[in-house]
């Protein structure tokens, strides 16, 4: 009984810690031991695994948002720098 309680408490601690560090994990901004800590928890937590996978997909899609060019932009700035309308 006590053992299960302690395991549950540890699980929830790891759950909160992992959820707070998923971005750092994807950005490769964790120390090796911390990366392992995320991976251990994600391996046993379907919720965190789903969030990690969909978060990664979200970031990939954000990186692909198109950039709409504005032709003549720099020339327009330069004209205004010279005091021309």
């Amino acid at each position: 009984m006590i053992r299960r309680f302690l395991e549950r408490r540890r699980y929830m601690r790891e759950h909160r810690w992992t959820h707070a560090h998923l971005s750092d994990y994807l950005d490769d901004e964790l120390a090796p031991r911390e990366r392992e800590r995320v991976e251990e928890h994600v391996g046993i937590c379907p919720h965190c695994r789903r969030v990690l996978r969909t978060l990664r997909r979200t970031l990939e899609s954000l990186m692909e948002l198109p950039v709409e060019p504005r032709p003549g932009l720099a020339d327009g700035v330069i004209r205004r720098l010279g005091g021309k309308p």
């Binding site: 490769d28 978060l55 970031l59």
Partner: protein, 222 residues
């Protein structure tokens, strides 16, 4: 216990495909030209009043600055106006620019502050000062959903709307880091936040945008 966890972890990894894929690659298109010695010289010459040198800086940075500003104001004409205004302000105050900062982070800061000022004058899209970033419990894992790939245009629109719905203090870190590809250090410098504060806002903003796709996916499934 650890062995059990490791085994579970390993099987989960296999079961979920890319569960523990390596960190995502850095964005291939870097938002701003990397500062080099030529740029340093252009900045020095501009500080001494050489307008031709400053014009070269305009050519180097105008397109990317415009792209960043456009994510804040969502109107091409207004983004162009802010971009022009940013360079005019930068030219007027370049004497005060300190060379220990990077030119483009200083420039982005001026541009983003101007975009924020204008955004704050408009009626807010959302009055929320906080963001909803908790995952929807009943949402499935859509990371490999073929229908999302097929609806790439819709997904893009959902993402753009979700980014624009973020409170402005969360939007800036996400745009700089994830859309424009700056490093955490560069983004923190532009926003004048500590790296820890920048990362904290970035994470919440990412979770909020991710949740918006959860909602979209659930709606499109239902």
């Amino acid at each position: 216990m650890l062995a059990t966890l490791a085994a579970a972890s390993s099987s989960a990894c296999q079961a979920t495909g890319d569960g523990f894929a390596p960190p995502r690659p850095r964005r291939p298109r870097v938002s701003a030209p990397k500062p080099d010695s030529a740029e340093g010289q252009l900045v020095e010459r501009s500080k001494a009043g050489d307008r031709l040198a400053f014009e070269e800086l305009v050519r180097r940075h105008a397109d990317r600055l415009y792209a960043v500003v456009l994510r804040f104001v969502a109107d091409a004409d207004e983004a162009e106006e802010i971009t022009q205004e940013t360079f005019l302000r930068a030219w007027r105050s370049i004497e005060r620019f300190e060379l220990r900062s990077r030119f483009f982070t200083w420039l982005y800061r001026i541009g983003i502050n101007e975009a924020k000022r204008r955004a704050e004058r408009r009626p807010p899209v959302s009055t929320a000062s906080s963001i909803e970033d908790s995952p929807l419990e009943d949402a499935p894992d859509w990371s490999d959903a073929p229908e999302l790939r097929a609806q790439q245009g819709h997904l893009r629109q959902v993402l753009q709307e979700a980014v624009r719905a973020l409170p402005i203090e969360y939007r800036a870190p996400l745009i700089l880091r994830d859309v424009e590809g700056l490093t955490t250090q560069e983004g923190a410098e532009v926003t004048q936040l500590s790296e820890a504060a920048f990362k904290s806002r970035l994470h919440r903003a990412r979770l909020a945008v991710r949740r918006a796709v959860d909602e979209y996916y659930l709606e499109s499934e239902g």
